[in-house]
Structures are given as structure tokens and as C-alpha cells.
């Protein structure tokens, strides 16, 4: 974590740091998430702890993730970023030996309740993974996959929603003439946008992005970032990234995780210009990580 964080470092070091940061940081929302009215909270996490067997990976995490904003989760490798967001759609259920305590409320409803249908939850909380993982099917079938799962949809409606999904993911123009070709023939960046299209086609309310651009080239990364900016008007987005410039560019709020603990969660502007915790400052300035 040296080259990437160099600009951020200069942000802090320069006397005109705040002005520069305002240019660099996508959002100027300076409210702290804890000040948000309850209506604006999409995901409310309280005292969340997670154990792999006897090893604790997340420790007493409480945070309020705001609706229709981009929240970035940053932190050094192995700090539990991915584990945290995988709690939000209960993907950790799939791993043997994981136990979770604490509460996670999605729009006021506890997701661990017994009467919660996990499949239904995952339809509401879409997820995009680090490496593009399109199914070995056609472009069309990839986007239609989630829609077909929800039940039988007439062909015309399916067509419309696939088109809408691909347009929302800014991929339609590139693939509209090869919808029936294998999705594996697309470039890495296209595949990742296809996966995003696939996720938003089922119209979730939350979109979890787990390092969505880390396997992509700079131009594809840029496209994904632009897409995120577009999508946040409709979805609550939580993005895990180890690239702090990216966090600064795309997010409104930033959470800093260190060794399974939530060190600081505040507006991105504050985290990158005037963090309250010294650990945060050390991390965003590249002193360790």
C-alpha cells in the first residue's frame, strides 16, 4: 500500500488539503452516518460478531449504512471487509463452522429471523464478486437467470427486463447484437458489468460489491466506477475496496476496518481529510497496510 495511497497522503499533508480532497472525493456529504434519521438507514448492524470455528473474525461491529448512498469498506487484507459484507446477504451461511452473533436489520427487519427466506433476502441484497463469474451460458441467459428463478416470466417481459438490466449496467450498447453468444467471450470488464447487470436485473435494494474492479484494467475500472455513480440513485451500495483512491472517488461514506474491528465510520471526506482515529490516519496516509 504505497503507490496507490500517495495522492491521499498529499491530500492530508498539503495546507489546502480539504479543498483538494473535495475535488478528489466524489461526495461532499459531510454528515456522520450516526446522525442520519432512521428513515435514511438501509442496513443497521448492531454488535455483529463472527467466528470461524473458534477464531473471531469480526468483533462487535455496529454501523448504520445509509440508503441510496455508496458506502466503502476499506482496510488492510484479512481485516474482515469481505466477511462483513457477506454477512449482509448471509453468504457466510454456506461456510461450515461459521457462527454469528448480533443483529443486522435490512429496512428494519432482522435478516437472521427464522421466517426469513434466504433466497428472498439474497434477491433483495445483490452481490458482485471480486472476479467476474458469469455462468457458462449466453449473455441473455446470464441476465435472465435471476429473473427465471423468481418464477415464470413471459418472454416479452423477460426481454424487456434483460435489456433494462444491461442498459442499467451500461453494457447494452456493447452486447445488444450478441445476446445469444457465450458470456465467456466478453472481456473481463464487460463480464464484470454483465455480472452487475445480472444482479440488478432482479431489482435488489442493496448492492454489495466485493472489490469489483480489482481484477480489471484501469479503463474497465473507470467504467465500473462511473456505473457505481449512476446506480447509487437507485440502490444502496456497499463496496469493499483496497484501493483508497477508488474509495475516495466513488463513496459517500467510508468504514475503516482493522483486525475485525470497525475503527471508524464516517463521511468519506472526513475519513480522508480529518479522521478521528490515528489508526485511520495512518492507514489512509499509507503508513501501514
Amino acid at each position: 500500500m504505497t503507490e496507490n495511497s500517495a495522492p491521499s497522503e498529499s491530500v492530508i499533508a498539503s495546507p489546502s488539503g480539504v479543498r483538494l480532497a473535495a475535488k478528489l472525493v466524489g461526495s461532499t456529504d459531510t454528515r456522520s452516518p450516526s446522525e442520519l434519521p432512521a428513515d435514511d438507514v438501509c442496513l443497521k448492524v448492531s454488535n455483529l460478531a463472527l467466528f470461524y470455528g473458534s477464531k473471531q473474525s469480526l468483533n462487535e461491529i455496529s454501523m448504520r449504512i445509509p440508503r441510496q448512498r455508496v458506502t466503502a469498506v476499506i482496510g488492510p487484507s484479512g481485516c474482515g471487509k469481505s466477511t462483513l459484507i457477506r454477512c449482509f446477504n448471509r453468504m457466510n451461511d454456506l461456510i461450515d463452522g461459521v457462527s454469528i452473533t448480533g443483529r443486522i436489520e435490512l429496512n428494519g427487519l432482522e435478516i437472521h429471523d427464522e421466517d426469513v427466506d434466504v433466497a428472498q433476502l439474497r434477491r433483495q441484497v445483490g452481490m458482485v464478486f471480486q472476479r467476474p463469474n458469469p455462468f457458462p451460458k449466453s449473455v441473455y441467459e446470464n441476465v435472465a437467470y435471476g429473473l427465471r428463478l423468481a418464477g415464470k416470466v413471459p418472454k416479452s417481459e423477460l426481454d424487456d427486463r434483460v435489456e433494462w438490466g444491461l442498459k442499467s449496467a451500461a453494457l447494452w450498447d456493447e452486447v445488444h447484437d450478441r445476446l445469444n453468444d457465450s458470456a465467456l467471450g466478453l472481456s473481463g470488464g464487460q463480464q464484470q458489468r454483465l455480472v452487475i447487470a445480472r444482479a440488478i436485473a432482479v431489482e435488489p435494494s442493496v448492492l454489495l460489491l466485493d472489490e469489483p474492479a480489482s481484477a480489471l484494467d484501469p479503463i474497465s475500472t473507470l467504467k465500473i466506477e462511473e456505473l457505481i455513480a449512476d446506480l447509487k440513485t437507485r440502490y444502496t451500495i456497499v463496496i469493499v475496496t483496497h484501493n483508497m483512491q477508488q474509495a475516495a472517488r466513488v463513496s459517500d461514506f467510508t468504514a475503516f476496518l482493522y483486525l475485525g474491528e470497525l475503527i471508524e465510520f464516517d463521511s468519506t471526506l472526513k475519513i480522508f481529510t480529518n479522521p478521528s482515529e490515528s489508526k485511520t490516519e495512518d492507514y489512509v496516509t499509507g503508513r501501514y497496510g
Binding site: A119, R123, M127, P134, L184, A199
Partner: protein
């Protein structure tokens, strides 16, 4: 000048380096040689195997020249016509010790020929050895004819006269006339066979059904059989009609005979109805020989066997083998796949599952005859016997399913091959990237939906690999089959025109067992030997074709999923 003086020295140095064994070993070159030799030996062994089988098997169908020999023997001057099937040198010591040969005035080892002289009925034996030094004269008679007969093997001779109803037929060209009349006989035989198969067999089948129906009623205490009697009467009438037709054809078949002169100045009368084919091998050119060759191979593939399997074709065995393997694949694939899915996807991975997995792997190593014994005890007697007593009470005491048959053979082989399908399917399932499963689950798919829509399609190449291995093992298996359904001679194919068309309870013939039977149980070893090679070649080809089909299918599926696997 200077260089030429230095050269020998340089050479010596180079030579020393080359000869340094330590360096040579370190370079890894011996290892390359060793591995390459192993590969080369394997290739030579496999090619040699297939080559020998192919040459020996395929040569059988070539219309060999028939040579007329005159030779000296203890019995004096002899004459014989036949095909040379083998030529070998006899060590002189052995020759002299045996005392069988006469004193010879040549130096070195004598050579003897095996002659297939045919005419088994009038001039046995049909295979005999003669020493080349005994031969005084040999010639190829242009008008010599080879007759392939339904009984008694081949006959060789020249036409003396054609007879119709016992009277000589006068004709300018007896050979052409003979061929015309053989054509007529072939047509008549075909008609007779069609009446036999289409009508008589069907009527017999219906009569048997009626008998079972009546027996069933009797068992239920209902002795009113008037409707059945009426039906039976109808069938019997039809039967009499068909039998009459058949008799007419048989009379027609008996009309012609041919008298031939065989070597040694004797004559033989052959009824034409007994002739399969006749040809003049010495008068044929390469092209007509090739045509005959192809026709012979086709006959081998498409006809049933004759003369205790030493003559004729292998169609019933070919059919039985392919049908049994297909049935086995249909049974083993779903069973193995489902078992593998449970073991890999649903079962909690622990000691118990590990034990099961070890057991499954070991199951693949159990000798196949053990499966045969199990199949006989469990499938045939227990399952089949139970089915009989529940559903086929009327047929008792004759067993229907409680006796070896196609379904039990297929099930036994399915059991034999299920471990390979389980193992390779499991391997396929573990290779599916976690990211794809997660991608599906994250879209709100349940585990079962993920399994059916993403995981199983992607694992299909591995399943097919399992099926390929299963086929390769099953098609070559003979030992267990002898206990659970394969017979030397099956009267009917397991598929015919009578409902339900596929008769799973029937016994069937199998190429593997056919090879064993022809090779070791045959009353006429010399006549059967080429058939052993031809049948073995056919079995190898079938296995290769079945495998290639499955491999092509798998490769196409694999190509579709390859990129997603990385």
C-alpha cells in the same frame, strides 16, 4: 593450418566430456530415453495386438484361390482341392521322430501346408496337412466352384449337372444357370423366414399369451374360457394356413440339386436349398474378389451363426452386446450421478463419508465374477423370483424374470461400473469453481436450483468420462455375464415386433462370450479359428466406436465450459 592441428585435441576433449557418465546422467538424458522407450513399447504392443487380430480376422473373408493338389502319401497318389490356410516349417528332428512322413530326399526342414479341403460329408476331414515335398502337381482350375453351405461347411468342385426334380437340366452355361437358381432359392428362403418371423412366431407368442391368460383365470377360480377358446381357434386356423404356405415353399426349395465332381474323382449331390452362396474364386479378378470380400463381411455382421457358431455371422451377438451396454449406461448414469451428488454436495464431509468413498473405490477392484455370483443370487433369484411370484404367477413353474436375462445382465454390469461413474462425477463436482456456485446463490437461487442450473451442467463432461470408463469396462466383461444372462445360442433377439418390443427377460448373445465359445467350445477348431479373430476385432471396434462417441460428446461439452473453469 593451426586449426587443423588443434582439431584432434578438441575432439578428444569433446569425446571425454561425452563419455563422462556422471555428466550424462545429470543431463537427464537417460531418463528421457527410459520414458520414451516405455511409451514406444506400449504403442508397439497395442498396435501389434490390434494388427494381429485385424490381419487374421479380416483375411478370413478374402475369397482365397482354390488349388488342386496331387501328392504322394502312404495311401498312394492322392488328389485334393482346397484353400491354403496355413504354411509352416517343421523342424527336421520332429519330422523324423514322428514317423508320419515318408522318407524325404531334401535337405533342411520340410514345409507343410494346411489345406481347407471342405466336402466334409463325402470326404472328411475338411482340414488336412500335406508336405510340400510330397506334392507332385498343383494347378488352379478356372471352373472350380466354392459352395458355402448351410450345413457341412464349404464344398469345392466343378459342376457335373444341374437337376430339377431329379431330372438333368440341359443348359449351355451351367454356371450361369446355377447362379440364377441359387438366387431363386435365396428368395424362397427369405420368404420362408419372413413367414416364420412375421406370422408363425407372432401366432405362437399370442397363443402363449392366451395360455397364460387362461391359467391366470383358473388360478382365480374362473373356469369360463369360451372367449379364449374362440380366440385360440382363430389363431390355430391362421397357424394352419401359414404352415401350409411354408410347406409349399419348402417343396419349391427342394426342387433343384446340383451334382459336383470333387477332387479324387468322386461326385457329390448338393441340394440347392442348402447353398448360401457359390463363387468361382480362381476365375475372379481383384475387383470382383473385393466385392465378394465386402459382401462376406456384411454377411458376417448381419447374419446369425450356424453349425454351433463355427460358421455364419455374429449379428445376434453384436446386437446383444450393444443393447446390453446401452441399457447398462442408461441404468448406471443416473444412479452414479445421484450418488455422487449426495456424497459431494449434501452429505456432511466427515469420517463416515470418507469411509463410504473408500468403500466405493474398493468396489471397483472386486473381481467381476463376484459380481456375477451376486447378480445371480440377488437379481435373478431374489428380485426376479419375487417379481415372478407377484406378477407372473400364471407362467409358473416356468420362470419369467426369475432366470438369467438381459435386464439382470445389464443391472449386474451397472453395479460393476457404478464406482467409476461416482468417482469421476465427484471429481467433476469438486472442480466447479466456488465463485460460480456463489454467483448463483447470490442471485437468490436455492442450493437445488444452483445444482441443476449451474453445477450439474458444468459437471456433465466428468459424468461422461465416468460413462466412458464404464462402457470400456462393461463391453469387455464376459465372466459375470455367463451367470446372469448370456447364452451360446439365443433363439430370438431381445427386440422384436411383439409387444412390448424390448424383451428384458430374454437371454441374449454377447461377442465376448461368443469368442470364448467359438475358440474353446467349438467342435471344429480349424473352421472356427478365423472367426475368433474376426469376432475379437469386431468387439474391439465396437468398444472403440462406443468410446469415441462418448469422448466426442464430452469434448464438445468440455469446450463449452472450459473458460468458466479457470
Amino acid at each position: 593450418m593451426e586449426t587443423s592441428e588443434r582439431l584432434p585435441q578438441e575432439h578428444r576433449k569433446l569425446f571425454r566430456e561425452r563419455m563422462n557418465l556422471g555428466v550424462w546422467f545429470k543431463s537427464g538424458e537417460p531418463w528421457v530415453w527410459l520414458t520414451a522407450t516405455a511409451v514406444g513399447t506400449s504403442i508397439i504392443a497395442v498396435l501389434g495386438l490390434i494388427g494381429i487380430i485385424a490381419v487374421k480376422g479380416l483375411a478370413h473373408f478374402w475369397p482365397a484361390d482354390v488349388i488342386t493338389f496331387e501328392y504322394e502319401s502312404e495311401l498312394g497318389e492322392q488328389q485334393i482341392s482346397g484353400e491354403v490356410v496355413q504354411r509352416e516349417r517343421v523342424p527336421r528332428a520332429q519330422f523324423e521322430e514322428s514317423g508320419a512322413g515318408r522318407a524325404i530326399d531334401i535337405s533342411g526342414d520340410p514345409t507343410r501346408l494346411m489345406i481347407k479341403s471342405g466336402n466334409r460329408r463325402v470326404n472328411p476331414p475338411d482340414f488336412r496337412w500335406i508336405y510340400t515335398h510330397d506334392i507332385t502337381k498343383q494347378e488352379k482350375q478356372q471352373d472350380l466352384i466354392t459352395f458355402e453351405r448351410l450345413e457341412w461347411g464349404n464344398a469345392y468342385g466343378t459342376i457335373v449337372e444341374l437337376r430339377q426334380d431329379g431330372n438333368a437340366v440341359s443348359t449351355v452355361n451351367p454356371w450361369r444357370e446355377l447362379k440364377k437358381r441359387i438366387g431363386r432359392v435365396v428368395d424362397l428362403r427369405r420368404q420362408a423366414k419372413s413367414i416364420q418371423n412375421r406370422s408363425i412366431d407372432r401366432i405362437n407368442y399370442k397363443l402363449e399369451k392366451l395360455r397364460l391368460k387362461q391359467r391366470k383365470r383358473e388360478l382365480q377360480g374362473n373356469f369360463n374360457t369360451s372367449d379364449l377358446d374362440w380366440q385360440r381357434e382363430q389363431l390355430n386356423q391362421e397357424y394352419a394356413l401359414r404352415e401350409h404356405e411354408l410347406n409349399d415353399i419348402n417343396v419349391e426349395l427342394d426342387r433343384d440339386t446340383v451334382v459336383i465332381a470333387i477332387a479324387g474323382g468322386r461326385e457329390s449331390v448338393i441340394p440347392l436349398k442348402n447353398i448360401v452362396r457359390a463363387w468361382q474364386p480362381n476365375a475372379m479378378n481383384v475387383f470382383s474378389k473385393f466385392g465378394h470380400y465386402c459382401a462376406s463381411i456384411w454377411a458376417f455382421l448381419s447374419e446369425g451363426s450356424r453349425e454351433a457358431n463355427t460358421e455364419g455371422g455374429v449379428f445376434p451377438a453384436l446386437f446383444g452386446t450393444v443393447l446390453m451396454v446401452l441399457l447398462m449406461s442408461v441404468l448406471v448414469t443416473p444412479f452414479g450421478v445421484v450418488a455422487a451428488v449426495y456424497l459431494r454436495e449434501y452429505a456432511r464431509q466427515g469420517v463416515f463419508v470418507r469411509l463410504i468413498r473408500i468403500a466405493v473405490n474398493n468396489l471397483a477392484g472386486v473381481p467381476s465374477i463376484v459380481y456375477g455370483v451376486f447378480g445371480l443370487g440377488f437379481f435373478v433369484y431374489l428380485v426376479g423370483g419375487t417379481i415372478d411370484s407377484v406378477f407372473f404367477q400364471a407362467a409358473k413353474p416356468a420362470p419369467t424374470f426369475g432366470t438369467p436375462g438381459l435386464i439382470w445382465a445389464s443391472l449386474t454390469l451397472a453395479l460393476l461400473t457404478v464406482p467409476v461413474v461416482i468417482v469421476s462425477t465427484e471429481e467433476g463436482l469438486t472442480r466447479i469453481p466456488k465463485s460460480l456456485r456463489e454467483g448463483s446463490l447470490a442471485l437468490g437461487a436455492t442450493k437445488a436450483e444452483t445444482l441443476f442450473k449451474v453445477v450439474l451442467p458444468m459437471a456433465s463432461p466428468s459424468m461422461l468420462t465416468g460413462v466412458i470408463l464404464a462402457i470400456a469396462r462393461a463391453a469387455g466383461e464376459v465372466a459375470p455375464l455367463m451367470l446372469v444372462g448370456v447364452v451360446k445360442l439365443a433363439p430370438t433377439l431381445p427386440v422384436d415386433g411383439n409387444f412390448p418390443f424390448l424383451h428384458l427377460d430374454r437371454k441374449f448373445m454377447h461377442l465376448g462370450f461368443h469368442i470364448y465359445d467359438v475358440g474353446y467350445q467349438s467342435p471344429n477348431v480349424d473352421a472356427a479359428r478365423p472367426l475368433v479373430f474376426a469376432t475379437a476385432l469386431l468387439l474391439v471396434i465396437i468398444i472403440i466406436v462406443l468410446n469415441l462417441t462418448a469422448i466426442t460428446l464430452r469434448n464438445r461439452l468440455e469446450a463449452r465450459y472450459r473458460e468458466a473453469m479457470n
